[in-house]
């Protein structure tokens, strides 16, 4: 009875020195991702409440160009996730050349995303939307919009640096495929967060 139970648990929780049969780096990244998920959840929950509680919430985005542009940004970030997966696959094949190429492609997509996002911000500044004021006199919009997208943009920027660092390291044969996979986890997480930020921040504020 006891042995059977142990065998069952052993197969489920088998790990010993490596819990869940993953490397400690990967497990560490997963734990970071869980905690960061909760940070973004709190921010987005607060935003959702404010959005629903204010019937006259500002809606500064026209379908064209703002929404078309942010949709393009979404597709670019999604595409970067695809290149990242291919990079990880290449790393597991020990194909260093294509790993570096896919990592650089991913970083380029990320940098393009940040660039487009910044032009978007500048346009909003010109229209009078800042983190502390809006033309409608509802500073909460500015605070939540720039706070949330800014926090996300910070994550993307850090991710771009991380990927460039990985690309250089892989080129010099300093990192293993496992390290690339861990950086991939981070990158996909950043993409995942945008999948919530984009609909909640942009699609909920399209002016009719």
């Amino acid at each position: 009875m006891h042995e059977a139970k142990e065998a069952a648990l052993g197969s489920l929780w088998s790990g010993g020195t490596a819990p869940f049969a993953t490397s400690s780096k990967k497990l560490g990244m997963w734990l970071f991702i869980v905690s960061d998920t909760l940070t973004f959840s709190a921010v987005l929950l607060a935003y959702s409440y404010l959005r629903l509680a204010n019937p006259d919430w500002p809606r500064p985005f026209a379908f064209y160009p703002a929404i078309v542009k942010s949709t393009a940004m979404t597709v670019i970030l999604l595409a970067s996730s695809l290149t990242m997966v291919l990079g990880v696959a290449a790393a597991h094949r020990n194909d260093r050349r294509s790993t570096v190429r896919w990592l650089l492609a991913t970083a380029l997509c990320g940098a393009t995303f940040v660039g487009l996002h910044l032009t978007e911000w500048v346009e909003l500044f010109h229209e009078g939307y800042t983190p502390w004021s809006t033309p409608e006199g509802m500073p909460l919009f500015g605070a939540t919009f720039f706070g949330t997208t800014g926090l996300h943009m910070l994550h993307v920027s850090i991710g771009v640096l991380y990927l460039l660092f990985m690309a250089v390291g892989i080129g010099r044969n300093k990192f293993t495929a496992d390290d690339v996979e861990v950086s991939g986890l981070y990158w996909h997480f950043v993409d995942l967060v945008w999948m919530f930020v984009f609909p909640l921040m942009y699609l909920m504020s399209i002016h009719s």
């Binding site: 790990g15 490397s23 597709v75 496992d178």
Partner: protein
């Protein structure tokens, strides 16, 4: 959760074809979301639909791109229920309290 991974040596990580298929699904759901934004529904309904669709996208990303489907199932058990529990706790305690402030006011003039 069919495949339980077989150690870090070999990776049954899925083919390029699978990744592209997942990507196309993600793009398609994004398209549906943008369409919802175009037709504009009542805010509460709209927010609920968008969050549901986004959770589907997140699940696809976590399962395939972040490889969780191919890890030990115990890792999924350790990460996902705890996250859902914490977010549910936020929902349970945050919304009723904030709505109460709406109803009673802050007392400030």
């Amino acid at each position: 959760m069919s495949t339980h991974g077989s150690g870090s040596g070999e990776h049954p990580a899925g083919s390029t074809r699978l990744f592209v298929t997942v990507w196309l699904w993600l793009a398609a759901v994004t398209g549906v979301e943008v369409f919802l934004g175009y037709v504009q529904l009542q805010p509460t309904l709209m927010l609920s639909l968008l969050v549901i669709l986004s959770v589907c996208k997140a699940a696809l990303i976590v399962a395939y791109f972040m490889h969780l489907k191919y890890e030990r199932f115990s890792l999924t058990l350790a990460l996902i229920p705890a996250t859902i529990f914490c977010i549910t706790m936020m929902l349970i305690f945050f919304f009723p309290d904030s709505m109460r402030i709406l109803r009673l006011g802050t007392g400030a003039r």
